[in-house]
């Protein structure tokens, strides 16, 4: 089993609230990723990191922000949630030289009402 954890698993929150989705891994992986996926649709890369203090935006524009202060932790924050942010958010990690061998968390299903 992969040692990558996301919390919360489910979240229902009101419009305008600030939220942080947590992602932690205990494998010492340098690379971490956030994907957004709507039901039955493709995964879209929204953020990634190659190590501590490294963060980049992915292919899909997102109003969220991320930080990478510690190797094991890669939280995603929405300053002001909107109904359009309703989606599943998936966190993943991989070794620096293992770009195709990623481990995914269980995901956070976010609903903004």
């Amino acid at each position: 089993e992969a040692d990558i954890y996301q919390t919360p698993r489910y979240l229902v929150i009101g419009t305008g609230k600030k939220i942080t989705l947590e992602c932690s891994q205990t494998m010492g992986h340098d690379k971490m990723y956030w994907y957004q996926q709507d039901p039955g649709m493709e995964l879209h890369l929204i953020h990634y990191s190659y190590g501590v203090n490294s963060t980049e935006k992915g292919d899909l524009s997102s109003e969220s922000t991320v930080s990478r202060i510690r190797t094991e932790h890669f939280p995603l924050t929405l300053e002001s949630a909107r109904p359009s942010h309703t989606s599943q958010y998936l966190c993943a990690s991989s070794e620096f030289s293992g770009a195709l061998l990623a481990f995914f968390g269980q995901g956070t299903r976010l609903t903004v009402v």
């Binding site: 992915g58 293992g98 770009a99």
Partner: protein, 112 residues
């Protein structure tokens, strides 16, 4: 980044062998071929990876012809629990985040 093409969906009866083919005509010398499985409401899970010829593990086999322009994921004797989306990824192991591009995948439905 090599573009991949795979069928949108497939149906199979329980107990049959399922073969899902992925085309990657522009595969580069350093690229590996990796397959993932995703169940509803879960993150993708690594199944198998190969560079050439045949790779087999406890879950699946991966067949890669000599020209490496395609690959076939083979699932022996599928069960209902194999119903999932299967993704073919091609890229350099030392590549950037865009190597983890999942595309639309192949939605496999196993029928009783």
């Amino acid at each position: 980044l090599a573009k991949t093409t795979q069928p949108i969906s497939m149906d199979s009866y329980e107990g049959q062998e399922v073969n899902i083919t992925c085309s990657h005509n522009n595969i580069a010398t350093n690229d590996y071929i990796t397959w993932y499985q995703q169940f509803p409401s879960q993150g993708p899970r690594f199944i198998i990876q190969g560079y050439k010829t045949k790779v087999t593990n406890e879950v699946a086999s991966l067949f890669i012809p000599a020209d490496r322009k395609s690959s076939t994921l083979s699932l022996p004797r599928v069960s209902l629990s194999d119903t999932a989306v299967y993704y073919c990824l091609v890229g350099d192991m030392n590549g950037g985040a865009n190597n983890l591009f999942f595309g639309t995948g192949t939605r496999l439905t196993v029928i009783p």
